[in-house]
Amino acid sequence: MAKTIPERKGPSALGVDAELARRLLHDMLLIRRFEEKAAEAYALGKVGGFLHLYIGEEAVAVGATSVLRADDYAISAYRDHGHCLAKGADPRRVMAELFGRRDGLSKGKGGSMHLFDRSVNFLGGHAIVGAHLPLAAGAAFAIKYEARDAVVVCYFGDGAVPQGEFHESLNLAALWKLPVIYLCENNRYAMGTSTDRALAQTEIWKFGQTYGIPSEKVDGMDVLAIREVVGRAVARTRRDKTPSLIEADTYRFRGHSMRDPAGAVYRTKEEVEREKQRDPIVMLRERALKAGILTEADVRAIEKDVNDRIDEAVAFADASPEPPDEELFTDIYKED
């Protein structure tokens, strides 16, 4: 769990320097603003289908990605905007994908739930719950087969844990010693079903012990704690070629999707308000200010930069044309 932050000033107080603090805050804010704009665009009818926002969970993707190398891989489920952006995808092309436009990452053919960016080793958003866990094991298998030292981070929700593929994947990854870090974002609800209504064992990290996988739990709202725990797992996985399981205790501030805007049927207002006090962005900002690593002016500059980039992403998506009709029939098969 999260360490108590000592009341000291200066870089050592947070264990991060100003540059890193700035980057973490920037990347989390970028996702937050991106999601807020995506929600606006959805309300305006510019984004269709299902739209699942990552608001509240930003620390997980940003903290985890901050300890990865560029040649490491990430893969996610349908709530994938944050993971894809954190891995380095261009927000303009992600927004264009949400808008179903030609300049989207997948030329508008994937949409919100299927973001892929090969240029940053992002292996996609996959929308059948649990199905991408074996894919992550396969990517790790390929890394091992080719004797490389990259790792795969696989983000998934608590909703994937009761699926057979979670258990099949953990078993295969442990059995064959595959370099994959299974990172569960436990936001306590699979759509509207709380973990205690879905899991006989709600301490998800404990499932890893059954398979002999080093497993731990971390405060999913504390980006620095995530850096520490995931960083440890990445180092071990890279060195020993063994999988890891991490359960991040997090919370989504919005509903399951835009069709569940309030998320109020299955959880209380009081609970949501209480969890919002753990806002990962506010927490990092306050701690960095308090420690004197960042100034108010620094924070304002970060906010301005993020707002500019997201405004630019929306303008880019708006300006991008719809994919031409021919795209219906391209990419069904890879041609020789």
């Binding site: 891989y73 893969i75 989207g104 990452l105 997948s106 030329k107 508008g108 053919k109 994937g110 299927h114 892929f116 960016d117 090969r118 292996l123 996609g124 996959h126 059948i128 199905a131 991408h132 866990l133 074996p134 894919l135 992550a136 094991a137 396969g138 990517a139 790790a140 298998f141 390929a142 890394i143 087969y145 080719e146 057979g164 593929e165 099949e168 994947s169 078993n171 295969l172 059995l175 391209t330 990419d331 069904i332 098969y333 890879k334 041609e335 020789d336």
Partner: protein, 329 residues
């Protein structure tokens, strides 16, 4: 040319492709130490070692998905289904992950994966282990589906499937593994996917069949030749993409069509072939297209009932006679 069994032809194809490309590996239940439930992978562990001949636990969805993930990073897995019936456990991975990856990613990630193993009617294996499985796959854009009838096709088509950059469903037949035939030993011999073959030339009627039904139709054609009916036999070999041109070319020559399939007829391969023959060559037809299909029932165990389930030579011959005697011309 060498004479070998269908099983040996598959084994040779695997060996040649593994020697040719280090990215090719085989994976599945009992493929290594046990040398394959049907011995298709016999000797591979010894030649290529456990890194490339990977025994899996019983977890079809898990290891199929693992193969797909490995293929996304550029490996070329050949995943064995001990029998294709078990592929239903991996149907989500095949349909939602493998088939759609290229499309959903706008062409960024493709899945060069072969899933192979025996399917179709077998000997008294009853309802869960004896059924035609191709129907579940050929409906899906993004997949290719192969059913190789002869040892030569087994080798040439499996090599093409392994070299293909897309997911290929390659369904063999338990009953055909011991069948012998001539097979080119040239490691560069391949048969392109999507090419049908005319197995017997004839002038009166086109019979379209594959796998066991092709052999049975051949026997029916021999019998009918004595009655003066000249049967042309066309084997599609690849069901998706289907070689429509070869089939239509034969129909334009004979003007009469019988489609034979082992699986249940409702929405089967015969329905699709019948539909495109009607669409492309209606004016060339002298009689309605006739289908001879497996009964619309699960596969029974009892020997007598099992025999009734799958089209017999006599049933096929009767359909051909009916079509030839139809008075349309």
């Amino acid at each position: 040319m060498a004479v070998m069994t269908y099983r040996e032809a598959l084994n040779l194809a695997l060996r040649e492709e593994m020697r040719r490309d280090p990215r090719v590996f085989v994976m599945g239940e009992e493929v290594g130490l046990y040398e394959g439930a049907y011995k298709v992978t016999q000797g591979l562990l010894k030649e290529f070692g456990p890194a490339r001949v990977v025994d899996t636990p019983i977890a079809e969805s898990g290891f199929t998905g693992l193969g797909i993930g490995a293929a996304m990073l550029g490996l070329r897995p050949v995943v064995e289904m001990m029998t294709f019936n078990f592929a239903l456990l991996a149907l989500d991975q095949i349909v939602n992950s493998a088939a759609k990856m290229c499309y959903m990613s706008g062409g960024q990630y493709n899945v060069p994966l072969v899933i192979r193993g025996p399917g179709g009617p077998a000997a008294q294996l009853a309802a869960q282990h004896s059924q035609s499985m191709e129907t579940y796959f050929y409906h899906v854009p993004g997949l290719k589906v192969v059913r190789p009838t002869t040892p030569m096709d087994a080798k040439g088509l499996l090599k093409s499937a392994i070299r293909d950059d897309n997911p290929v469903i390659f369904i063999e037949a338990e009953t055909l593994y011991p069948v012998k035939g001539e097979v080119p030993e040239d490691p560069d011999f391949v048969i392109p996917l999507g090419q049908a073959i005319v197995r017997r030339e004839g002038t009166d009627v086109t019979v379209i069949a594959y796998m066991g039904m092709m052999y049975r139709s051949m026997e029916a054609a021999d019998e009918l030749a004595k009655e003066g009916i000249s049967v042309e036999l066309v084997d599609p070999r690849t069901l998706r993409p289907m070689d429509v041109d070869t089939i239509i070319g034969s129909v334009r020559k004979t003007h009469r069509v019988v489609v034979v399939e082992a699986g249940a007829g409702f929405a089967g391969m015969g329905s699709e072939i019948s539909a495109f023959v009607t669409e492309h060559a209606f004016d060339d037809l002298d009689a309605p297209v006739e289908r001879v299909t497996g009964a619309n029932a699960p596969m029974p165990y009892a020997r007598n009932l099992e025999k009734l389930k799958t089209p017999s030579k006599d049933k096929i011959a009767a359909a051909i006679r009916r079509v030839c005697n139809a008075n349309g011309s």
